[in-house]
């Protein structure tokens, strides 16, 4: 059931990311729907679940994106881990946490993409990209993450709870 739910969210998100999302550009940035899903699910179910969604969603995104496989999966995994870390390390604030998580995840995700591009021999000047893309994208994600969280909380309630054995 949980795999079906993941597929029902991540597959359309990946396809819409390369077809619909670029049409939603505001101030040079457009939303990343897979990143929204991963951040939302990490906030709902924790870092381990978020990491699984990050790998699955990232590999789907890699199939429709240019470049080698694994780039988006790795970037999303770092974003999910960062959100999990933020959630664990700071007192959860229902108002601040979703937006802060969305912004942090967008910055982490894009910085990993820049680093991997450098690693693969396609250097990118970080400052112009930070100004033209990463900063507006982070604001966009911060604004949309609370909405994604609302939707994913409903999905979470519809799914059976995982059994957690804490040692």
């Amino acid at each position: 059931m949980k795999y079906l739910a993941a597929a029902a969210v991540l597959f359309p998100a990946a396809i819409l990311q390369v077809t619909l999302a670029p049409r939603l550009e505001v101030a040079g940035a457009f939303p990343n729907l897979v990143l929204l899903a991963v951040v939302g699910w990490t906030l709902v179910r924790g870092a381990a679940s978020g990491l699984r969604w990050a790998i699955a969603g990232g590999l789907l995104l890699d199939l429709v994106a240019p470049g080698p496989l694994g780039v988006h999966a790795l970037a999303l995994a770092v974003a999910a881990y960062g959100v999990g870390f933020l959630q664990r390390s700071f007192e959860p604030d229902p108002w601040l946490l979703p937006g802060a998580s969305g912004a942090l995840a967008a910055v982490a995700y894009n910085l990993v993409l820049v680093a991997l591009s450098d690693l693969l021999g396609h250097p990118i000047s970080i400052l112009p990209v930070l100004q033209a893309w990463i900063a507006p994208a982070a604001l966009y994600q911060a604004a949309l993450t609370p909405l994604a969280l609302l939707v994913l909380r409903r999905l979470d309630r519809a799914l059976p709870r995982p059994v957690v054995i804490d040692w």
Partner: protein, 271 residues
């Protein structure tokens, strides 16, 4: 709690290492074939979704009586872009080989065999800004081929599957195109920055780039034919002590709305 955290960190480290290995493995030249085959799997879903979104966008516009205005606007924008290209090429013609500038029609001026392709997808992030087109190796599309549209240069083919290809556009953060300015004749490199375009110009004493000048490919490096419109100088930053001066460019092509491109089939990159 701490043990849960360390398990989570361990899982993350393992996943990150595995994904990094996958990146390096699929980046190998020998993996290009299988990679293209796997990536082609989702192309039909992308194509259908793009078709649906185009249809839905058009349908909604009909309901709101905006369809006619939209198509008029698109036509006028296309006419305007074509006229801008013609003006740029006419200006460049004063300094260029007359053989390449005789006709105003794009293909005649260009003198190359082209293949029309529809845009079926776009990059999922703002760094690559690539386009996915619905033509692939089955139609003769190859790596490195130049892609243009009525308004000017779009980019180069960076990946090919049997039925689709990826175009690295000018605004890709890793894109570099050797170009020259039509008026002052200064040469430099147009750099994509994930959104705006900038041109690094090698300064010459007494020569100044003025806003409004056209920027065209110089052909240096052999990756692009000479004389394709890249953009127009919006602002020039002159610094007396600088070894390289920069100009902000307005791209000739609107990469957000381009829906049909031409793949140049018979230009062989030599760089």
């Amino acid at each position: 709690m701490r043990r849960t955290q360390s398990r989570s960190s361990g899982a993350f480290a393992g996943a990150a290492l595995a994904m990094l290995a996958l990146v390096l493995l699929t980046e190998l030249p020998s993996a290009a074939g299988p990679r293209g085959y796997v990536k082609g799997a989702l192309a039909p879903a992308t194509m259908v979704t793009t078709g649906f979104l185009d249809w839905a966008g058009g349908g909604l516009a009909v309901v709101t009586e905006a369809s006619r205005l939209r198509s008029d606007n698109l036509r006028l924008a296309a006419d305007n872009a074509a006229l801008r290209r013609q003006v740029a090429e006419l200006q460049a013609a004063a300094q260029e080989n007359a053989d390449l500038r005789r006709a105003l029609d794009f293909q005649k001026t260009f003198g190359h065999r082209t293949l029309t392709a529809g845009v079926i997808g776009r990059a999922p992030d703002g760094l690559t800004r690539s386009l996915t087109i619905g033509r692939g190796s089955a139609e003769g599309v190859e790596l490195g081929m130049v892609v243009v549209c009525g308004a000017g240069l779009v980019g180069r083919i960076s990946e090919v599957t049997r039925s689709t290809a990826t175009v690295q556009t000018l605004v890709d953060a890793a894109s570099r195109v050797n170009s020259y300015t039509s008026g002052s004749g200064l040469e430099g490199t147009v750099i994509g920055e994930g959104g705006p375009l900038s041109m690094e110009v090698l300064p010459q004493p007494g020569v100044v780039v003025t806003p409004g000048e056209w920027v065209l490919t110089s052909g240096i490096g052999g990756l692009f034919p000479r004389g394709i419109l890249v953009g127009q100088v919006a602002q020039f930053h002159r610094r007396d002590s600088a070894t390289v001066e920069t100009a902000d460019l307005a791209p000739a092509v609107d990469f957000n709305s381009v829906s049909t491109v031409l793949v140049v089939l018979d230009f062989k990159a030599t760089g």
